[in-house]
């Protein structure tokens, strides 16, 4: 197993390298540049040239990339924001807790709700509730989250006034748990709405597959109660494919949901990326993209390791 993990980690280095090149190219080739925000109809063009030179964007793309990667590889430094000159690492780190709070809540809730829904729908296939859950799933998968965000904002925040419209807290003076939960509720539920829809669907089909297996019949033939047949013998097998799906969503924990964080003015990573793209802050964009890529690689590795733990048939490093 350790050998396998080392091999996988080494394999991911060229991958991350390629991702960084592609991101850099796409970003620099896109129209607009970091100086656009400084443009002033009455200003002198020389000033812009000066700023360009200062930021280093006057140089050819490959030189810019070389400088960026050299700094990263030799010093582990992600560079400095074009916007305010602060280290990119620092800017990212201060956004991580907010994203963790929002995405962690949404993912945990979605797992806790989606698995029971999926199991119920599979065991009572074609029951009234199964049809209701199915209709909900299609809605949740088909409707984009930003639309749901606007609807819940309109209904629960504006019309009913039950929740604050946006933000993460009312004041920075002191910590107030109730206030934080109050702010967290709408964005977290909006995210969970979509996550539950897709996960419960996966869980349903996974369980449907499992409950017609021979070993489930064996469990019944042993005289086990239906509860034990489903929750001990079927569920453990039905969860195996779900693990990959959940692990694949883990990068979102840090990457954040771009639209939801932006709509609800949630000060997380998603909003940081979003605003960085708007002002062409190349350094921050590279930083957040690279971290997202690393997380995807790590999450996939984690999924494979978890697989080996829950499914005894899977073993790594043995021929």
């Amino acid at each position: 197993m350790p050998k396998y993990i080392i091999r996988r980690t080494l394999q991911s280095i060229p991958l991350l390298f390629i991702i960084s090149i592609i991101t850099f190219l796409l970003m620099t080739l896109a129209p607009g540049d970091p100086t656009a925000v400084y443009k002033n109809p009455e200003g002198k063009p020389q000033n812009l040239e000066m700023i360009k030179k200062e930021l280093g964007v006057d140089q050819p793309i490959y030189v810019q990339y070389y400088k960026w990667i050299k700094l990263l590889v030799l010093h582990g430094n992600l560079g400095y924001s074009f916007q305010d000159g602060r280290p990119v690492t620092e800017k990212i780190m201060e956004r991580v807790p907010a994203t963790l709070e929002l995405m962690g809540t949404a993912i945990v809730i979605s797992i806790l709700v989606a698995i029971p829904i999926g199991v119920y729908s599979a065991v009572k296939q074609y029951s009234l509730l199964d049809y209701i859950f199915t209709a909900y799933s299609f809605l949740g998968i088909a409707v984009p989250s930003f639309f749901i965000a606007l609807v819940v904002m309109l209904v629960f925040a504006m019309d009913l006034g039950w929740f604050p419209v946006s933000g993460m807290r009312s004041s920075y003076d002191h910590f107030n748990l109730w206030d934080r939960v109050h702010h967290l509720f709408l964005p977290a539920m909006t995210l969970a709405f979509g996550l539950i829809a897709s996960k419960s669907r996966f869980m349903r089909s996974s369980m449907l597959e499992v409950i017609k297996q021979d070993y489930v019949r064996t469990a019944r033939a042993k005289g086990l109660s239906e509860r034990k047949v489903i929750f001990k013998h079927a569920l453990r097998n039905g969860l195996i494919p779900i693990i990959t799906i959940i692990a694949n969503r883990l990068p979102d924990l840090f990457g954040g949901a771009l639209f939801i964080e932006t709509i609800f003015a949630w000060p997380g990573m998603g909003r940081l990326s979003f605003s960085a793209i708007f002002i062409r802050d190349y350094q921050v964009i590279m930083g957040t993209t690279l971290i997202a890529a690393v997380l995807v690689v790590l999450a996939n590795l984690l999924a494979d390791i978890l697989y080996a733990f829950v499914d005894p048939r899977i073993q790594y490093g043995k021929s």
Partner: protein
């Protein structure tokens, strides 16, 4: 009229059982009036082609018919003189895997891949014998010894995928014995195994039957296995019993044309140069069973009578039962 008297040495008595499946295409009478007895200490073989209803018969006894679409619509199943159809789900669970056990055709997929072999066996023991985890593990080890698994201590901690097919079937048998059953239903237990392993498993079942004083219902389409194992034989065709008798009568003097055909299509060393005999045609679609005898289409003796009217089941002697017009007064008329 079905006789209601049950002989004292009868373990299971199936009486005019009808198990229908309600599908989108219509009602499928998979089991259509099946009756037979299983006596104490005997091996009863149920023989028939795929789709003849033999597996559904065994699942009906276990009350494991998936409902819907399946349903037992008529008849009764008496186990030790008590109706299984009148038992509550809870009472039924105390019988399954305890008094009546079952092993299946596919040892490769019948064990749960994510639990250790030892845990799967001791689960049954703890369920039916109110044993502690430790006692159950000790008993599981005994059972693995009993079914002749080499290195049983090591096997306890292995997962099903680490065992061969024959070994897994032995594990299934060990699991079935956990509750000291009076009846073991074996649904094609050797079909998926190599020929050499088949014989070992059959021999094991014979030994265990004697040691544990059980009855066995053996479901198979392999007449070689029947000859090896059975005391009595039930031949099924199209969801009905067409013939029933002791092993010697069935093999030496079969009455029903279908049984005759089955025996003639058995490969033997003597038929070296000849072509293997095959019964012409296929099993009729259970959605559209003919009104007359269900075998008439493929029967070389069939007359108009056979196609017009369904023959009734009748006793030729105390132990011999057949469903065929040939053995009635109306045949010559």
């Amino acid at each position: 009229m079905v006789t209601t008297s049950v002989k004292t040495d009868t373990v299971v008595s199936v009486k005019d059982l009808k198990t229908y499946f309600y599908t989108e295409d219509g009602v499928v009478p998979v089991i259509d009036g099946v009756s037979f007895d299983v006596r104490k200490g005997e091996t009863l073989a149920i023989v028939g082609e795929s789709g003849s209803g033999k597996s559904v018969t065994s699942l009906s006894i276990m009350r494991l018919i998936p409902t819907p679409p399946g349903k037992i619509v008529n008849g009764d199943i008496l186990f030790q003189n008590e109706s299984l159809l009148e038992k509550s789900d809870k009472e039924m669970r105390q019988i399954r895997g305890n008094k009546i056990s079952m092993i299946f055709q596919e040892p490769m997929t019948s064990l749960n891949p994510v639990y250790k072999v030892g845990d799967q066996i001791s689960e049954s023991i703890m369920l039916h014998q109110k044993a502690s985890k430790k006692e159950a593990t000790a008993e599981a080890l005994n059972l693995l010894n009993l079914v002749g698994i080499p290195e049983p201590e090591r096997r306890l901690n292995q997962y099903p995928h680490e065992l061969s097919g024959g070994m897994r079937q032995r594990v299934m048998i060990a699991m079935a014995l956990a509750g000291r059953p009076d009846l073991l239903i074996a649904d094609e237990p050797t079909t998926a195994l190599d020929v050499t392993i088949q014989n070992q498993i059959l021999q094991l079942m014979k030994d265990l039957k004697a040691k544990r004083d059980m009855s066995i219902v053996l479901i198979t389409h392999d007449l070689g296995v029947v000859a090896e194992m059975a005391d009595r034989v039930v031949v099924m065709y199209g969801g009905q019993v067409v013939e029933q008798g002791d092993i010697f009568t069935i093999f030496e003097a079969p009455k029903h044309p279908y049984t005759e055909g089955l025996l003639r299509s058995m490969p033997t060393a003597a038929k070296k140069n000849g072509k293997l005999y095959a019964i012409e045609g296929t099993v009729p679609n259970p959605l559209h069973f003919p009104v007359g005898c269900r075998f008439a289409e493929r029967c070389e003796y069939a007359k108009d009578l056979c196609r017009q009217e369904m023959p009734q089941i009748q006793n030729l002697s105390e132990d011999e039962v057949v469903r065929c017009w040939k053995y009635t007064d109306r045949w010559e008329a």
